[in-house]
């Protein structure tokens, strides 16, 4: 029997009121042991849970702190942390194959082909070779396992009971897998295949017009315009020989749409730090809100880790040691995604159908074959996948993963599949005391490239885009290349001293919102799909504000100003002529102040109108069979003004008429009126929040009742308050680095992963309202200035 797409759990076992799901309903606070003895500990650890169920961990050394972090995280988030490692390792079929079948097997196969599991294994080796990293991973793992070993079926998180399986022992590999999972989420997307189709179909002029590498009127990159960049001396000869024109080497491909869900467009993050010269108190303020999928259990777990050597507070990723975004007594830091294209495709030339040899530099070279085994729940025989590996990467889309034969020659090189030690960056940031510590910590970071913002009590503010960044030649990696020459393999990496960064700029602030890291003067080529609205809005506001308070910063994180609409709508309105029957929507949108507030109707009218217009503008791409990529909004707006009669604006269904922008604007406006009439006639009040329908869903999407739907919030894509339908600010943090640090934060969920706990989603309403909690940065475990719900002791 199947329930909403999941297999039915064994009824007696599940409904048993002593051990079954009933045992997961929590009356007050989550069920916890008062004390735990473990001979893995060095001393005593005290864990203070405050009134929001945030654990404050106090230990006598670092090893015990990481043990406690593992124990505490597992106590609250065990199912989630384990499930995410199954996803990253391509092992979901072991849990879900009996109900989800081939669909889940294909997801697993894709994950393995992307090489996450293999690179996690290599990362683990590098952890183990370093005594400190090894200590951290081992202690964390022992902490998680101390919790798992204390469990019986009655104590399992309810998801294990629903899916009828049990937790397996935690391992260091799982920590590595979890970090790779983040790399996958943040850099898994690539538009190389789509852009190659469009280049081949429409030519280089089309690409240059709609997809320029840099915005034509470039403003507000992360490193201020006009900065003079030094070149990495180790790379000079290569970077200067930009004569090799990689555009000559584009592969002729035709890949029909790939069978996997695309990440929604327009997600990203904001972070910034304002120097004391711009704040009311004279102390720097640092802000960060990473935008991620809105899920339960929440992606972040808030905590404080305190040892005699350091005292750090912030959010952690369940399954990975250390605090990822936060502050300590000396500094604060935050991250946004670097958004670079770090996943490239090559078209290989195989000798014959057997694909055992491929051409490199005029010679036939043997491929290596990796055999991946997938255990399938409910089946006695595992599935074996044979994966072809080459110097140009792994062949990802063959052997039945798509029906498309043309993909069997495509190899993928992805930076996330390199072994790496991102964990060290966070461990060192947790203890950093000043700018030099911060800069040294970043050197370990490989993928996903992040913009690390920084502020210190000594008054420094800085931002640094760090991650393994390669010294690409102009145009390299933007399109699918012919993979036949070793010259086209990825070049050397840029030394971390020469990746884009800025410290204490004159303007008094540093910021990032996933935009271009630099202007076009940066000496190394890169490409990606960079933001161009949030960054300009953010910098405009930061330039304007003086005497800044934390309240100003909270307001800015929740700013709903829609710069896209402010730039697009006047152009659209300029073309509108015939609006018979839909005057009311025209007046709504004309009277609108460009703020995407929850209760306004204007943003809904604009958004639908814009989306409909774009859909008919690019109907050639959307209606074809091939992978496509719609140009970015700011380029569309520019071309609407500069080339209103461009051939792409011709609407295919009307074969004997040639449309220009003007007709499309009017056709799409009518379509919008018709649609909005139909949804309001069906009973929906026309507000932006209702139209947008923000929801937070459980990681298992089939478990709808564990989610929350139609949350009344403003914001949206390309808006500082980036709350879209299924994505949004996953943690809002404001830290004022005064003598006594003042910090505020909120995230859309709760500390407990248990849907039967009031701490599962208790922050959500406050988050939706744009409010914050004051974070309790405890100096010692004896502090009593706020209520304590529970104290736990771990001892030797």
């Amino acid at each position: 029997m199947v329930l909403n797409g999941s297999a039915l759990p064994p009824v007696g076992k599940f409904l048993d009121p002593v051990n079954g799901f009933w045992a997961n309903a929590e009356k007050d606070i989550p069920k916890q042991k008062k004390a735990l003895q473990s001979d893995k500990l060095h001393g005593e650890v005290s864990i203070v849970y405050d009134e929001r169920w945030v654990p404050h961990i106090f230990s006598t050394d670092a090893r015990d702190a990481y043990f406690a972090q593992g124990y505490v995280t597992a106590s609250n988030r065990l199912w989630q942390m384990e499930f995410q490692t199954y996803a990253s390792a391509g092992r979901l079929s072991e849990i879900l194959y009996h109900s989800a079948g081939e669909r889940i097997l294909n997801v697993d196969r894709m994950m393995r082909r992307n090489g996450l599991a293999e690179s996690a294994k290599a990362s683990l080796k590098s952890f183990e070779n370093d005594p400190e990293a090894n200590m951290i991973i081992t202690a964390y793992t022992e902490g998680v396992n101390a919790y798992i070993e204390s469990l019986s079926y009655r104590d399992y998180p309810v998801e294990y009971k629903l899916l009828d399986y049990k937790p397996e022992p935690w391992t260091g590999l799982k920590c590595a897998l979890l970090l790779k999972y983040m790399a996958h989420m943040l850099t898994g997307e690539s538009d190389d295949i789509a852009l190659t189709h469009q280049l081949n179909a429409y030519g280089a002029d089309f690409i240059n017009l709609f997809y320029p590498d840099f915005p034509v009127d470039m403003k507000d990159p992360i490193v201020p315009e006009g900065t003079v960049f030094e070149k990495d001396p180790a790379l000079l000869p290569q970077a200067d020989s930009a004569s090799t024109d990689t555009l000559n080497n584009i592969a002729d491909i035709a890949v029909t749409q790939l069978p996997f869900e695309k990440f929604p467009e327009g997600y990203g993050s904001n972070n910034w730090a304002v120097a004391g010269s711009k704040t009311k108190t004279g102390a720097p303020i640092l802000c960060n809100d990473p935008h991620l999928a809105l899920n339960f259990p929440s992606i972040w777990f808030e905590m404080q880790l305190s040892t005699p050597d350091y005292n750090v507070y912030g959010v952690s990723l369940p399954g990975a040691p250390a605090v990822i975004i936060g502050f300590n007594e000396h500094i604060s830091w935050g991250v946004t995604n670097g958004t670079r294209d770090v996943k490239d495709y090559y078209k290989l030339t195989f000798k014959d159908e057997s694909r055992k040899e491929y051409l490199v530099d005029g010679q036939w070279e043997k491929v290596s074959i990796r055999r991946d085994t997938f255990y399938l729940r409910g089946e006695s025989e595992p599935f074996i996948d044979e994966v072809i590996e080459t110097r140009f990467g792994t062949v990802v889309y063959d052997n039945g993963l798509t029906k498309d034969e043309s993909t069997k020659n495509l190899a993928c090189t992805w930076i996330a599949s390199e072994p790496s030690n991102e964990l060290f960056t966070f461990v060192k940031l947790n203890r950093a005391k000043n700018y030099d510590d911060y800069a040294a910590a970043l050197k370990h970071f490989n993928c996903p490239a992040q913009n690390f913002v920084f502020a210190s009590k000594t008054g420094d503010v800085a931002i640094w885009q760090q991650g393994g960044l390669y010294a690409f030649e102009k145009g390299q990696g933007r399109f699918v290349q012919e993979g036949t020459s070793s010259d086209d393999l990825w070049p050397l990496k840029i030394n971390a001293d020469y990746t884009p960064h800025v410290k204490n700029p004159e303007r008094g602030f540093v910021s990032s919102a996933n935009q271009h890291p630099t202007d076009s003067l940066y000496p190394y080529y890169y490409n990606g799909r960079f933001e161009y609205f949030r960054n300009r809005r953010l910098n405009d506001e930061l330039r304007r504000l003086t005497g800044i308070t934390v309240q100003d910063m909270m307001k800015l994180q929740n700013d709903n100003y829609n710069l896209l609409a402010a730039e697009a709508l006047p152009v659209m309105l300029g073309y509108i002529e015939n609006n018979a029957g839909y005057e009311k929507y025209l007046s709504i949108v004309k009277d609108w102040n460009y703020y995407n507030d929850a209760q306004q109707a204007g943003p809904a009218v604009f958004q639908h109108w814009w989306d409909s217009m774009v859909a008919i503008m690019f109907d050639e791409l959307l209606s074809g069979d091939l992978e496509y990529q719609i140009p970015q909004q700011y380029n569309i707006i520019r071309v609407m003004k500069s080339h209103p009669e461009h051939v792409i604006f011709d609407y295919k269904p009307s074969a004997n008429k040639k449309e220009t922008v003007k007709e499309l604007v009017n056709i799409s406006f009518k379509e919008t009126g018709k649609y909005l009439d139909s949804i309001t006639a069906a009973g929906m009040e026309l507000t932006w929040a209702n139209y947008k329908h923000t929801s937070v869903e459980h990681l298992l999407f089939t478990l709808k009742p564990f989610g929350r739907f139609n949350i009344q919030t403003g914001g949206g894509k390309h808006i500082l308050n980036a709350t879209a339908d299924r994505w949004g600010p996953s943690w809002r943090m404001v830290v004022s680095l005064e003598k006594e640090t003042k910090a505020y934060g909120v995230y859309p969920g709760g500390q407990s992963g248990n849907p039967g706990s009031k701490f599962y989603d208790n922050f959500l309403d406050k988050w939706a309202a744009g409010e914050y909690y004051e974070l309790w940065y405890m100096k010692s475990n004896q502090e009593q200035s706020k209520p304590v719900l529970f104290t736990q002791k771990l001892f030797k």
């Binding site: 007696g12 048993d16 009933w22």
Partner: protein, 115 residues
């Protein structure tokens, strides 16, 4: 009648202990054991098991639901397609427990009869 109730309470109590320390089906098995060692008609065996487990499963489920304001019950009652009805989920739980209890109790009497 008095025997009936004592037997029923004994089954409920033993079932609670058995389930707490082992697995769910150890509860209904207590109905079997009690009726194996304590003589009675097969209908008494069935109904002491049935109501013994009903008492236990209803009591615990009802308490779990009420004391937590149905925080999880409502969600599970949507996943099992019961339209979010807490009462329906408690009723189904009670029914599963009591049916197993009844059948086990009856089995106990039948095995006793074989000797």
């Amino acid at each position: 009648m008095k025997t009936f109730f004592i037997k029923l309470i004994l089954i409920a109590g033993l079932a609670w202990l058995a389930q707490y320390f082992t697995v769910w089906y150890a509860g209904p098995l207590m109905a079997l054991l009690v009726n194996l060692f304590w003589k009675g008609s097969s209908s008494q065996a069935f109904f002491t098991g049935f109501f013994g487990l009903a008492l236990l499963w209803f009591g615990l489920a009802f308490y779990a639901d009420m004391s937590t304001d149905g925080i999880l019950t409502v969600k599970i009652a949507h996943i099992f397609p019961l339209g979010g009805s807490r009462a329906a989920l408690i009723a189904i739980t009670t029914f599963i427990g009591s049916l197993c209890g009844g059948l086990c109790g009856w089995t106990g009497a039948l095995i006793r009869g074989l000797r």
